[in-house]
């Protein structure tokens, strides 16, 4: 135990939030500490946006409490150290990017310069453009610029790259990684597991309003024992699929791909059955598999 625990930058403590008969969050605990990039994962409707809205003070919890830098999130002083990019981020169409930045910077005591904002968000040459005339990706980048212009200690990104193509996503990721390297703590929600894998060092998985996994990327991955074996082999996938411990076997691009809970046994058997087998490769399940596995374990409580 540490004698002194620094206060978390953002925290939910035993939070319950209901919307009518639907419980969006059920006793959720969440902590974002300095220097962390935390990915909040979950399917649509799992409660991710509700969690962010509570941390931003846009909603009030029915039970428990939400804290931003140790204060209630509506405190102006706390908000001045937070930046935010919302999912439904419609912004005044007729204002230019530079004007939006000018206004948003004025809310903060020690804002980044225009040049710095432009560079981090990749908005070069777009400051004079009206927000409504930007492409989807450029709008997201403008939103990122608005989120970081106040030099926030903590940054909330709600589904920052949903609906963007891969190049735009990667350029946004570059910006986010730069910020994280500069010491900004980031809480992002996403349903792109790849995004969590690229950006986050901690993962919290929500399912039906409950936290079902919380830990480092490695820990969450290790929650599932599955591994993936790939090799060049003449064996029939349908036959391999019937072996004990094998979850699935398919042929992809001419290579046999086996997902299994017991990689060592299955690998031994593969080698024994097919002496001509080459290019054996065993890998731990990615976050995607882990995520599916973890969320499948959870019985849906709102199914009725």
């Amino acid at each position: 135990m540490h004698a002194v625990q620094p206060i978390p930058l953002a925290q939910l403590r035993g939070v319950v939030k209901r919307f009518g008969a639907v419980t969006a969050l059920e006793r959720v605990d969440l902590e974002l500490h300095a220097g962390q990039v935390l990915a909040l994962l979950g399917a649509n409707g799992a409660g991710k946006s509700t969690a962010i809205s509570l941390l931003l003070g846009l909603l009030e919890p029915d039970e428990g409490e939400a804290l931003l830098l140790g204060s209630p999130p509506r405190t102006l002083a706390a908000r001045q150290q937070a930046g935010v990019m919302l999912q439904s981020g419609a912004i005044a169409d007729t204002l230019r990017v530079g004007e939006l930045l000018d206004l948003t910077r004025s809310y903060y005591p020690n804002p980044r310069s225009m040049e710095e904002c432009t560079a981090i968000a990749g908005l070069e040459g777009l400051l004079g453009r009206r927000y409504g005339r930007l492409s989807g990706g450029q709008q997201r980048r403008a939103q990122l610029a608005l989120a970081i212009c106040g030099r926030p200690r903590v940054l909330f990104l709600d589904e920052p790259t949903t609906g963007l193509d891969i190049e735009v996503r990667q350029s946004l990721w570059r910006g986010v990684r730069e910020l994280a390297a500069g010491g900004t703590s980031i809480l992002l929600t996403t349903h792109y597991l790849e995004e969590a894998e690229v950006l986050a060092d901690r993962v919290v998985v929500l399912a039906h309003g409950r936290v079902v996994a919380d830990g480092s990327l490695e820990e969450v991955r290790a929650r599932v024992s599955q591994r993936r074996i790939r090799c060049a082999s003449a064996l029939d996938p349908a036959e391999v699929a019937r072996w004990p411990g094998v979850r699935s076997a398919t042929r992809q691009d001419g290579r046999l791909e086996v997902v299994t809970d017991d990689a060592e046994d299955v690998a031994r058997r593969l080698l024994a059955r097919d002496p001509g087998l080459t290019g054996l490769d065993v890998s731990r399940a990615g976050l995607a598999e882990a995520f599916l596995e973890i969320t499948r374990e959870q019985p849906s409580q709102e199914a009725a």
Partner: protein, 256 residues
């Protein structure tokens, strides 16, 4: 030390003021660049006045003066109702208001900016009408009367901003223009802003004190000596009540 608790106190006053000014400036620019709002708001009252107050009344300066007073109220009311009603409804629907609420925007800045915008549009509308009245309508007033009338017109933005804000918290973005028109146009007629109430059936005149625009209209007419003779405090009191009432209603709606 830049502690969490200290940063509000350290916030220099001129920086706070700058925030308010920028908020108002960009709210104004935003609407000015929305032709659907700015053109009708700025031109319709002037066009109506030119048609009914100048052309159709064939050079009767008394009628031109009467209608100048009431069309000024009509124009400012439009800017305030639409400026608040439609933009608040859209901001709510599209999530812009939510983003604004999540940002450390100074308190009251959102409403103050829209208020400043409504007042600025009101000044334009009132000046445009004054020019038309003086040059084309033969309206002749003493300087203090011009000044007072302009003041009454522009101050009329307050109660209608409050009503507009409340409507904006009720209606969806797409329904807001229709809802605002449903309030704006009938109330203008019922309050005697388009035509003197004496030209309408008697029941209109009896009911008129119920409608907020009637009181703004009567104050404007009092400046040119053409009002129905009720005391100033009645009109000002009613308008103050409407302003406070609708702001409070809107605040409880927005706080949810």
């Amino acid at each position: 030390m830049d502690t969490v608790a200290g940063s509000t106190l350290d916030r220099p006053r001129h920086r706070l003021l700058r925030s308010y000014v920028l908020e108002a400036k960009y709210e104004f620019l935003r609407l000015l660049r929305t032709p659907m709002f700015s053109l009708p708001t700025l031109l319709f009252p002037a066009m109506f006045y030119l048609l009914f107050g100048v052309l159709l009344n064939r050079g009767n300066p008394a009628a031109a003066t009467y209608l100048f007073a009431t069309y000024g109220v009509f124009g400012v009311m439009g800017a305030a109702l639409f400026g608040f009603g439609v933009t608040v409804a859209m901001d709510r629907e599209q999530g812009f208001l939510m983003l604004k609420r999540a940002l450390p925007m100074p308190p009251g800045s959102y409403v103050a900016a829209k208020m400043a915008m409504a007042v600025m549009f009101g000044v334009f509308v009132a000046l445009l009408l004054a020019l038309l009245g003086a040059w084309a309508g033969g309206v002749s007033l003493r300087s203090p009367q011009w000044a007072l009338l302009l003041l009454v017109h522009v101050a009329g933005a307050l109660p209608f901003s409050a009503i507009g804000l409340y409507l904006g918290t009720l209606a969806s973005g797409s329904a807001a223009p229709a809802v605002v028109n449903l309030v704006y146009l009938p109330l203008s007629l019922l309050s005697g802003l388009w035509l003197p109430l004496e030209m309408l059936p008697g029941v209109f005149g009896t009911l008129a004190p119920l409608w907020p625009p009637y009181h703004a209209g009567q104050l404007a007419l009092k400046v040119v000596g053409m009002d129905a003779g009720q005391p100033v405090w009645l009109h000002v009191g009613m308008l103050a009540l409407v302003t406070a009432g609708f702001f409070l209603l809107a605040r409880t709606r927005l706080a949810r």
